[in-house]
């Protein structure tokens, strides 16, 4: 912020638009921050939605495995001389489908997933070494920036691409939301009613793959899990109603990313990806303290859920008034 701008901002400190002006003169005047905000918002919304279903389907660690393969895909593409994003998207989607076939019913088993992604990471280090030792134009920090993201380093093209992909993932998930909810909560009944449960599972894994690939560019493959798990976990914690939680997860995610970016801007020593994950973790922790209070309040006032609303057994929080799962059809 230059001195005249600051003076002007101070002069109008009491006018209603002062905060906005200050914001426009501060972080928002920098193109890198605008790009980060644009990409971050879209990525956060996609991660929030995908994360909601990952938590619901108890597949959080599948997201973790995917986020690890993102590292290998990116560095493999770099080592072979291709664009980093090509490798990212290709590996993530392929591995997502592979994970679906490893286990029965598109849910894979522990040791197989863990071994596969551990080895994939090992391959990533191999590619990192190949890349840094053979390419003369190699960027020595490539490994670190894939692992921990470089959201403040996005170009305008990358930011718009991230925004477009994020919007597409959100749109696809919203279109699939109803059948996917049904198939996630009661796969047997859903299959009996003619829903293609397996195909939905695979389709969802593809979306997880695309989302992981995209988010890797912003907050890094290692920290992606925080953005997938924390807002969704908080949303699951705050409400039992699926559509409300489905809306809450992306809203929380976007708010956390924006707050994290702001924090990263305000305190230059803080890496922005740390600030985002720290904010998300803080919100999740807050959701943990809020929930028991709300439950106690509901018990005191004897308020019950209206009988005609769908009740899903989302989390086992020991809520005594939970009825048997019923889905309004």
């Amino acid at each position: 912020m230059t001195a005249p701008v600051r003076a002007a901002a101070l002069a109008r400190a009491h006018s209603p638009g002062a905060a906005l002006d200050q914001l426009a003169a501060g972080p928002l005047s920098h193109p890198y921050f605008q790009h980060a905000l644009l990409a971050g918002t879209a990525i956060a919304a996609a991660c929030g939605l995908v994360g909601y279903f990952l938590v619901l389907r108890a597949q959080v660690f599948t997201g973790d495995a995917l986020s690890h393969t993102a590292f290998t895909g990116a560095l493999g593409a770099l080592a072979l001389g291709y664009d980093l994003r090509l490798g990212l998207y290709a590996t993530c989607v392929v591995v997502a489908l592979l994970l679906g076939t490893l286990g029965s019913g598109a849910k894979a088993d522990d040791v197989a997933i863990g071994s596969l992604f551990s080895w994939t990471l090992g391959m990533g280090v191999f590619f990192l070494t190949v890349y840094t030792t053979t390419r003369s134009t190699a960027n020595g920090g490539a490994g670190t920036s894939v692992l921990f993201g470089s959201i403040f380093g996005l170009s305008s093209g990358q930011a718009w691409l991230a925004a477009a992909v994020g919007a597409a993932v959100c749109a696809a998930l919203l279109a699939l939301a109803r059948p996917l909810l049904f198939a996630s909560i009661d796969p047997d009944v859903a299959a009996a009613r003619g829903l293609p449960v397996r195909a939905l599972g695979y389709g969802f894994l593809v979306l997880v793959g695309v989302c992981a690939a995209e988010a890797t560019q912003a907050i890094g493959s290692l920290l992606l899990l925080g953005l997938l798990a924390a807002p969704a976990g908080a949303a699951h914690r705050l409400t039992d109603r699926p559509y409300r939680a489905l809306a809450l997860a992306p809203i929380l995610a976007v708010a956390e990313v924006v707050a994290g970016l702001g924090l990263g801007y305000a305190v230059p020593d803080l890496p922005p990806s740390f600030a985002v994950v720290a904010t998300a973790t803080a919100v999740y922790a807050a959701a943990y303290t809020v929930r028991p209070v709300a439950a106690a309040h509901a018990r005191r006032t004897g308020r019950r859920r209206p009988a005609d609303l769908p009740v899903f057994p989302l989390t086992d929080t020991g809520n005594p008034d939970r009825t048997t799962p019923s889905i309004r059809r």
């Binding site: 660690f61 522990d110 071994s115 080895w119 990192l128 890496p271 740390f274 998300a280």
Partner: protein, 294 residues
């Protein structure tokens, strides 16, 4: 690594001369010693870990080693202290949580995942605050065998001996509690206390393994050899021995390969261990099919 190779000639396919040549360097001797200690401990603890289906607890505990080591470096304490302190503390936290892990449903997995991401982010923050240490990130995450001192080997040995003694002490009841927790609890076995003790042992093991393979590749030594052994045999004694043997083979072969090539040890150890796992799974699958057909 390259420098060493140029100074002493390449791989000659003559095992005796290769080994004498490698062991001419004290750091290589220390690396082999440390690798052996870590592999034996990981093979034993990992076998129980796979049996109890807690592999992701091991993975999460190992990740904690990264912020531990980075934080210790930042405040000027030895990285080993950071590894052990953070991993064992995280094991105690994990034991205190109701039931964390993959099989306990989405909500607990979300909690584990969030904590894991937050800790990794903290590690990155420590690294960023400790400027000029960015190259160390790769060593912390993906392992390094260079510069292991005799003191470090001693620390690894003492901790591994203590952990193995602890495992031997609780081994029999732990096997019972792992195989059938309900019956074990009915017979008066303290299932919960055993679980806590075991998680602390896993924490110590993850800290040790992390110092060789790096925090991200602990799965390679802790889980893969054990999973391979269990795919081959269901008998405890044989499985434990096989698990130790496989872990040792992966580590030592990884060390040799890493010594003669520019690629990091984490890559080799995970590749050898994963290759063994895939072969074992494929082999036992084919064997079962053949038996069913005949």
């Amino acid at each position: 690594m390259r420098v060493v190779e140029l100074a002493s000639g390449g791989f000659s396919w003559n095992p005796v001369s290769d080994v004498t040549q490698m062991w001419a360097y004290p750091f290589m001797v220390n690396a082999f010693r440390a690798g052996a200690i870590v592999a034996v401990l990981a093979g034993c603890v990992g076998w129980f870990l796979v049996l109890r289906r807690q592999t992701f607890a091991g993975h999460s505990l190992a990740m904690v080693g990264f912020p531990g080591a980075a934080g210790a470096t930042l405040i000027g304490v030895s990285a080993s202290a950071g590894y052990f302190g953070f991993c064992v503390a995280a094991a105690l936290v994990l034991a205190a949580l109701p039931r964390a892990g993959r099989h306990s449903g989405g909500a607990e997995a979300a909690l584990t995942g969030t904590v894991q991401a937050f800790l990794l982010a903290c590690g990155y923050l420590f690294v960023a605050l400790y400027k000029g240490f960015l190259n160390g990130v790769n060593a912390l995450l993906f392992g390094s065998f260079l510069g292991i001192t005799t003191d470090q080997v001693l620390v690894l040995f003492v901790v591994a001996a203590a952990a193995l003694a602890g495992l031997a002490a609780v081994g029999r009841p732990l096997l019972f509690a792992s195989a059938d927790p309900d019956v074990a609890a009915a017979r008066g076995v303290p299932v919960r206390a055993l679980g806590t003790v075991f998680l602390v042992l896993v924490g110590a093991t993850a800290a040790e393994v992390g110092q060789i393979t790096g925090s991200l590749l602990v799965f390679a030594l802790l889980v893969m050899p054990a999973a391979t052994a269990q795919a081959l045999t269901a008998r405890p004694a044989l499985g434990l021995a096989l698990s130790v043997l496989l872990a040792l083979a992966a580590t030592w072969l990884g060390l040799v390969a890493a010594y003669y090539s520019p690629y990091p040890i984490g890559f080799y150890v995970s590749t050898f261990a994963f290759g063994g796992y895939v072969l074992a799974r494929a082999g036992s699958g084919t064997l079962r099919t053949v038996r069913r057909l005949s």
